[in-house]
């Protein structure tokens, strides 16, 4: 179970980004935890903080590639009124010890030495963090492939990881391109940007028309706030892109919530840490809530269906998931559920945390 437990990690160093509006936090992973904390480009980490006496859990995408020798790190942008993001930005510093759950998530790009693909990345704001990890992994470990990024921001002052993006681009000018899209470019700005506006249909069409796939195995990755993911996906599908080639991570937003089903009271056999427990689920209660009420310590983080930390396998019975952003159709067909989103729809359930 160490994969879903919190481990204390020491901050190796921090770096202020975009004039103090964001912070990159690097972690020191001790040798004993190397394997546990090995990550795939695009995955995220879950954190547990005690702020003003209250436990807070959040997930942040890892903003470095596992193939470049960079340390494990996250880049956190301040959210107005955000308890955790501001806490990290205000206080996080070298030497601090933080509780971290090992890398998680299926929004991933696994580079291959002989794999030959064209990767298109569509991001906005902090959505760049997993995309940067993916892009730099392709450049470092997938030498036959190409990558193109459209990155939306207000203006040049809000572009996260700009120096690093420019560095990979300068190192690989033949294999990749970066296209900045600014919604409010400053008049005085001399910074180069590609287009004014947001990452919408004209922008997506122009990106692909100007950079048609050279390697024909094309893949599309989207990570942005609010409704951006769904909008980009709709545009891509209108351009004949098959759904199986589109990969998305909702950032901040929760995605669709399906409240059409109420759920029923049920009894669940829950296997956790190799032990089996009997848990009563009340009508309308999620499997995760029920397990916590029963005194178990199941893994969880966001509790909104985004991070996947609460994932388990449903071996028997049926559930209804309110939200399921963290799972791909493939996972679900293999029985994966998000316990924080699952309402029982059969009287008996068998749930196994792996």
């Amino acid at each position: 179970m160490s994969q879903r437990n919190f481990h204390p990690l020491t901050i190796l160093g921090t770096r202020e980004e975009i004039g103090g509006m964001a912070k990159t936090v690097m972690f020191d992973v001790p040798d004993a935890l190397r394997e546990t904390f090995a990550w795939r480009a695009g995955q995220h980490l879950s954190f547990r903080f005690l702020i003003n006496g209250e436990e807070q859990r959040r997930s942040y995408s890892i903003s470095s590639s596992p193939f470049t020798g960079d340390p494990l790190r996250i880049t956190v942008k301040r959210v107005k009124g955000g308890v955790v993001s501001n806490h990290i930005n205000d206080t996080g510093q070298k030497g601090d010890v933080i509780d971290v759950m090992p890398p998680f998530g299926s929004f991933c790009l696994d580079p291959g030495e002989n794999t030959r693909r064209t990767h298109y990345f569509f991001g906005a704001g902090s959505g760049i963090t997993p995309l940067y990890a993916m892009l730099s992994s392709v450049m470092a470990a997938e030498p036959n492939s190409f990558a193109h990024l459209a990155y939306g921001n207000n203006n040049e002052k809000s572009v996260l990881l700009l120096d690093e993006l420019n560095t990979v681009w300068e190192t690989n000018p033949e294999r990749m391109s970066i296209h900045h899209v600014f919604s409010k470019p400053g008049f005085w700005s001399s910074a180069d940007y590609w287009r004014k506006g947001i990452v919408d249909k004209p922008v997506i069409e122009a990106l692909i028309a100007e950079n048609p796939p050279y390697a024909q195995d094309a893949q599309y990755y989207v990570c942005g706030p609010g409704g951006m993911n769904a909008a980009v996906k709709a545009v891509l599908m209108s351009l004949d892109v098959p759904a199986g080639r589109i990969h998305m991570e909702s950032y901040g937003g929760v995605g669709e919530v399906d409240t059409s089903v109420e759920g029923i009271a049920a009894t669940a056999s829950v296997t956790l840490g190799g032990k089996q427990h009997v848990v009563d689920i009340a009508k309308g209660q999620t499997v995760l809530e029920a397990a916590k009420v029963a005194g178990l310590k199941p893994p969880f983080s966001c509790q909104s269906g985004v991070c996947g930390a609460c994932r388990a396998t449903l071996a028997d019975g049926t559930v209804h998931m309110l939200a399921r952003m963290a799972l791909e159709d493939r996972d679900i067909s293999k029985g994966a559920i998000l316990t924080c989103q699952s309402l029982a729809t059969s009287e008996k359930l068998t749930v196994k945390y792996d």
Partner: protein
């Protein structure tokens, strides 16, 4: 005793049985050249290609990605689309009008209810093939799960010259195609035969130093490079007939033969392809296309004017003297090396039928011919 051409029996070059096995075990199981990337460059555009036993079509979607499918209607197998063309969103079979979208999904069946009741269309999509672009060429593989083209051609990349064909432009005059009355292996063997260069082509390819040529194999692919002779190298800028396309320290002729039958030929002035397609046991099609520097017409004119002096004196001419010509266009007199090669291939093929045919020893410069025969045996699964 079976009569052999080095390692292979004569039947390997003449029989339908060998031809069928090669179609099945070699040309249906390797990446096949389908065209230049410019051939399918607009959404809806498509081309078809024969890859061994498979007829495959390649079409571009609005996402500008190529898809390849076996050109067989899932109803009764009618060929779905012809040669080249352009479609909007759908492909309709001419026989009973079953219609597929650009992802290969079956989207409509005329009179479905009356004729079939309910049909599960999701199981009747077109069978996909694999497609990719490499060195500006479109390639297909009949197997959608075949190893990537990077895996197949990756090992040859460091050895085939510094040309960047994507940055060169097609030169239409180089687009030619002709049939040779010989087995496809005779044509390959001719292409990779180093020994013949200074003999058959003694007066047509003498600007390169054949004796200094270097060759080796990368798996089933043959690599070859030879440097320019001093007379051509000295003040070479004034002798190139078209603007230079490679750096001087990488000069020379880069002439690999990739497997099966995919010849490339790069030089200081351009980059060409030589695609060998077996049509029958004793009939082969060769398709040539080429690219040159993306310079203005004026640059080309200047370069060709500058160089014409040298070439007049250097003297390209025929193998045989004009008074020995058998006809007005005798290839052995014309001074064109392609004509010389076709002539040699066809003459060799003819002799295979003679009961008196017997091969002599293989020269050092012919060891590659024997090696290619070994590769063929390996792919047909009967290496001795």
């Amino acid at each position: 005793m079976t009569r052999k051409l080095h390692l292979l029996p004569v039947e390997a070059y003449t029989s339908r049985d060998w031809f069928d096995r090669e179609m099945r075990d070699i040309f249906s199981k390797t990446w096949r050249y389908a065209g230049f990337m410019e051939d399918v460059s607009e959404p809806g555009q498509y081309i078809t290609v024969q890859a061994g036993l498979n007829n495959i079509f390649i079409v571009m979607g609005r996402d500008r990605r190529l898809r390849a499918f076996h050109n067989i209607c899932r109803h009764r197998g009618t060929q779905l689309i012809r040669a080249v063309g352009k479609t909007q969103k759908a492909l309709t079979c001419p026989y009973h009008d079953w219609t597929y979208d650009l992802e290969g999904n079956l989207i409509s069946i005329p009179e479905e209810e009356e004729e079939f009741g309910k049909v599960d269309k999701s199981c009747l999509g077109l069978k996909p093939a694999r497609v990719d672009i490499w060195k500006s060429m479109i390639f297909v593989h009949p197997d959608p799960d075949a190893p990537s083209i990077a895996e197949w051609f990756g090992p040859v990349e460091p050895h085939i010259g510094p040309h960047v064909p994507e940055e060169l432009v097609e030169y239409e005059d180089l687009n030619t195609s002709y049939e040779i009355k010989a087995n496809w292996k005779i044509v390959v063997e001719n292409y990779i035969d180093v020994y013949h260069l200074s003999h058959l082509h003694s007066s047509t390819l003498q600007m390169y130093d054949h004796k200094a040529g270097k060759f080796h194999w990368e798996g089933p692919h043959y690599m070859f490079w030879e440097p320019p002779v001093d007379a051509f190298l000295k003040d070479q800028e004034s002798k190139l007939i078209a603007p230079r396309v490679i750096p001087k320290d990488m000069n020379g002729a880069w002439v690999p033969m990739l497997f099966p039958g995919i010849g490339l030929a790069g030089s200081e002035e351009g980059w060409n392809i030589f695609i060998i397609e077996p049509l029958g046991p004793e009939l082969t099609r060769v398709s040539n296309r080429g690219r040159v520097s993306n310079s203005s017409g004026w640059e080309f004119t200047k370069q060709s004017m500058k160089s014409s002096m040298f070439w007049t004196k250097f003297g390209l001419s025929g193998k045989y003297e004009a008074h020995d010509a058998m006809s007005e266009d005798d290839p052995m007199v014309a001074g064109d090396f392609t004509g010389e090669d076709i002539y040699a291939c066809e003459q060799q093929q003819k002799s295979l039928k003679s009961p008196y045919f017997e091969t002599g020893p293989a020269a050092v410069g012919e060891s590659q011919v024997v090696e290619h025969q070994r590769v063929i045996l390996e792919w047909l699964g009967d290496d001795e």
